[in-house]
Structure formats: C-alpha cells, structure tokens
Amino acid sequence: EDQVTQSPEALRLQEGESSSLNCSYTVSGLRGLFWYRQDPGKGPEFLFTLYSAGEEKEKERLKATLTKKESFLHITAPKPEDSATYLCAVQAAGGSQGNLIFGKGTKLSVKP
C-alpha cells in the first residue's frame, strides 16, 4: 500500500535555529514527491516537486532533497513567518495523472 510518513509531528525552533523535516514514503513507482505549506484554515500552497533520487530544489530558506526512500525539507535560519504545517505528498507512476497521497504533516513553530 502506498503511504507517506512525516516526522516529527511538531517542531518548535528558535528564530535562526536550522533544522530538517523528514518524509518517508513507500510507493509502487514514484512519479513525483511534492512539498506543500499549509497555514491554518487555508489550502496547501505548492513549494517543490522532486522527481528523482539525488534531486534538490531551493527556495529562500527552504531546500528539499530526495532519496529512494525519503525526502528532507531543510530550513535554514528560520523566521517566525515560516511557522506553518509542511505537507509531503507522493504521486505514483503509471496511468493518468493521479491522486496525491499526503502525510499528516509537520507543524513548525518558529519563536522570535
């Protein structure tokens, strides 16, 4: 069964304290791995797509990496405005453009 597990469930950081979020996945052929940011009461906001092991993407203080079993979202020198829930999702290969399978997310709190 395709599934996504994110850890930790919650992470509290001080402003400037770098850390990483983990997303482990099992899928029958990976088409893509996606990172989203979700603020309370809002829809997921697209951040990155990773397609193959070894790939990396960066955006401001965020960097996403991918291996054959997991992905990391590295946050460098976070600011309070980075506080949100970060969601990881995978899409299986094959067939038409298919559904995203989401993890439960990591709730990040950054204190000033």
């Binding site: 088409r31 009461g41 829809g43 397609y51 999702a89 899409q91 038409s96």
Partner: protein, 118 residues
C-alpha cells in the same frame, strides 16, 4: 498570478440536504481534483477529472458524490444527501497546463470550502 478559487468559503447545511461546492481552476489547466481534510487529519483524495470524465476516484467518493464541469470555467462537487461525517474542508486543485511541460504534475490548491453538517 493565476490561482484556484472556491465558493463558498463556508457552508453550513443540515443532514440529508444536498450541497454543491464550486471551484474555478487555473485557466488552461487540464486536470481537476477534489480533496477533503477532516479537522486534524490528512488531506485525502476524492476524485480526479480529465477531458470531461472522472479519471480516478477513491473509496470515499461513493454514489452520494458527483462532479461536473458545467461550462468552460467551473468545476463542481455535489454531495446528494449530506451526513455528519461529511463535515470537512474540501479543496479543489488543478494541474497540467501542458502535458509536455515538466511542471505538469504540480497540483495547485484552492483556499477550500469548510462544510459543516449539523
């Protein structure tokens, strides 16, 4: 910047009533989706829609649910007879500006409709 829009933002209905949730996907996108998120739980896939027909659906998407693209811009989710357990945030998403582009698999989500069934 193009975005997915959804209406209403909040819908309150009584059990057994029909509701229609509306979405306007990003212009020129080819694939449309509905997801739901029960409070405190994962985002769950409901259905995908392409070329005016359902391409995939989950076990959640039973006979009480239907989708429609009534015109060139709107995409709707109908729940025929709502149940208490249908209370959730419902998200519309779209993807696929062009199947030849590498970015065509990215799904862009709307702000959601909070459905409360009483």
């Amino acid at each position: 910047e193009p975005e997915v829009t959804q209406t209403p933002s909040h819908q309150v209905t009584q059990m057994g009533q029909e509701v229609i949730l509306r979405c306007v996907p990003i212009s020129n996108h080819l694939y449309f989706y509905w997801y739901r998120q029960i409070l405190g739980q994962k985002v769950e896939f409901l259905v995908s829609f392409y070329n005016n027909e359902i391409s995939e659906k989950s076990e959640i998407f039973d006979d009480q649910f239907s989708v429609e693209r009534p015109d060139g811009s709107n995409f709707t989710l109908k729940i025929r007879s709502t149940k208490l357990e249908d209370s959730a945030m419902y998200f519309c998403a779209s993807s696929g500006r062009d199947r030849t582009l590498g970015s065509s698999y990215e799904q862009y989500f709307g702000p959601g409709t909070r459905l409360t069934v009483t």
